[in-house]
């Protein structure tokens, strides 16, 4: 896998200089995180796979335009999120969740387990899909992926205040959705929401 000791920045520079392996190593290093963001931002795994591939090829070709004003990982995430948003804007909303594929010779899970897993994923993803794409991307980055508001702002290429606003509205909407599904009590008591820079899950990126 990715045993290369070079930094992300070094790998990108090596790629620009003509190293044929460097960009592949860079992708391998960040593949899981890029995939997680793409999958949670997109409407289904196929869309996410296409978005990641589009984004990586775009980054491959545009590597020489990277100015080093952010981390390479931030730059890669930005390209992936933009690819997801572009695809969502250009297609009709079609919320679906694919059941996991079973390979040849793979032990089949109990049908009931699959269904339960499917339903859980459907709940999370279908709720996220009800958010406008920009709100969804902000919530995915900050609340699911643990990016700071400032980091998410760099990925989304917008002010931190915009990220906070999108997260706030997204959380409100998600709370409404959960409440309508009976997964949240109908509380009237209101309290403060997370303070500036605070996330529901914490973490940093």
């Amino acid at each position: 896998m990715t045993t290369d000791d070079r930094s992300d920045e070094d790998l990108l520079q090596a790629h620009v200089a003509g190293d044929p392996e460097a960009f592949g190593l860079l992708f391998g290093r960040h593949a899981d995180r890029l995939w997680a963001v793409a999958l949670r931002t997109s409407r289904d795994p196929e869309e996410a796979a296409d978005a990641v591939q589009d984004a990586m090829l775009s980054a491959f070709r545009r590597a020489q335009t990277f100015r080093g004003q952010s981390k390479v990982s931030t730059w890669l995430h930005r390209i992936v999120v933009n690819a997801c948003l572009d695809r969502m804007r250009s297609r009709r909303a079609r919320p679906t969740v694919s059941l996991p594929e079973q390979g040849v010779g793979q032990t089949l899970a109990e049908p009931r387990d699959l269904i339960e897993e499917h339903e859980t994923r459907l709940t999370v993803r279908s709720a996220l899909l009800q958010l406008p794409p920009e709100q969804r991307a902000a919530v995915v980055l900050v609340d699911l992926e643990g990016w700071t508001v400032e980091g998410a702002a760099r990925v989304l290429d917008c002010p931190a205040g915009t990220v906070k606003s999108r997260c706030h509205r997204g959380r409100q909407r998600l709370a409404e959705i959960l409440r309508n599904r009976g997964e949240l009590p109908n509380v009237t008591e209101q309290s403060r929401e997370p303070a500036v820079g605070e996330t529901l899950r914490g973490g940093s990126a």
Binding site: G18, P20, E21, F23, G24, F27, G28, A31, D32, R33, L34, W35, A36, L39, R40, P45, E46, A48, A49, D50, V52, Q53, D54, M56, L57, F60, R61, D86, R89, S90, R91, T120, R121, T123, V124, R125, A127, D143, L144, E145, S165, H168, R169, R171, Q172, L174, A175, L178, E183, L184, P185, V187, E189, Q190, S191, R192, E193, P194, L200, R201
Partner: protein, 234 residues
């Protein structure tokens, strides 16, 4: 901004936190990881000129516009009688297109057999993907893309997905729709107006399996003028 900024209650915050934690961070499936890695490796080989199609950046958009406009201008007069002569011999030719803002050269194309026609439209590739010189790059032909209202039974049974490209957007001129069938799962790396052996045409490139199709879109239904296929699409 008129939306009310109602704060979330602690109960709501806790419920949302549980909600977010109910789905662990997904790991990239091996097939997707491999697919993207393959695409990157192919791009790296293309960059080194080791494998076709070779991709060279076109620095200015007017060049793309020029290519497309020039190609469109001669298409109406150049292609009508071209398919049969090309199909009747075994010469190889080179297809060139400016897909994705890049010059793509596809050498050693073999003229298609006479009467080799593709008439079924099963996937709509919207022009949104072609804006800003992005072309149709990266789109995967897959069963989900089949639009049932446009799918004939024989094609559905045969299995191959298909691509219908409306070439031309932005500064490019509009061209007739062309239809081609590509192998299921192939990833389209370029669909654009280009040329084949000096004549205007639509060039479609795809990989896994490697495929290049050169279409004469002046004929109706479109005729495949030349092709290079790793695996038969029939």
């Amino acid at each position: 901004m008129t939306q009310e900024q109602t704060p979330l209650s602690p109960e709501d915050q806790q419920a949302l936190a549980r909600f977010f934690e109910s789905e662990p961070r997904p790991q990239i499936p091996p097939a997707v990881r491999r697919s993207v890695a393959d695409a990157i490796a192919a791009e790296a080989r293309n960059r080194g000129g080791e494998q076709e199609p070779r991709v060279v950046r076109v620095p200015r958009t007017w060049q793309r516009s020029y290519y497309v406009t020039a190609a469109a201008s001669v298409a109406a007069v150049a292609l009508v009688g071209l398919a049969v002569p090309l199909a009747s011999d075994n010469r190889t030719g080179t297809g060139t297109t400016t897909a994705g803002g890049s010059v793509v050269e596809c050498p050693e194309l073999v003229p298609a057999a006479s009467g080799h026609r593709y008439t079924e439209a099963t996937m709509w590739q919207d022009t949104e993907h072609m804006r800003d010189g992005e072309g149709c790059a990266g789109h995967v032909a897959e069963p989900d893309d089949v639009v049932s209202s446009e799918l004939s039974a024989p094609v559905a049974e045969a299995g191959p997905a298909a691509v219908r490209a409306v070439t031309g957007s932005g500064s490019a001129v509009a061209m007739p729709e062309c239809v081609a069938r590509l192998s299921l799962g192939s990833r389209i790396s370029g669909v654009d107006i280009g040329s084949y052996s000096g004549h205007a045409a639509v060039v479609i490139t795809a990989h896994r399996p490697e495929q290049v199709l050169v279409l004469d879109c002046d004929s109706n239904p479109p005729v495949v003028m030349a092709q290079r296929l790793e695996r038969s699409i029939e």
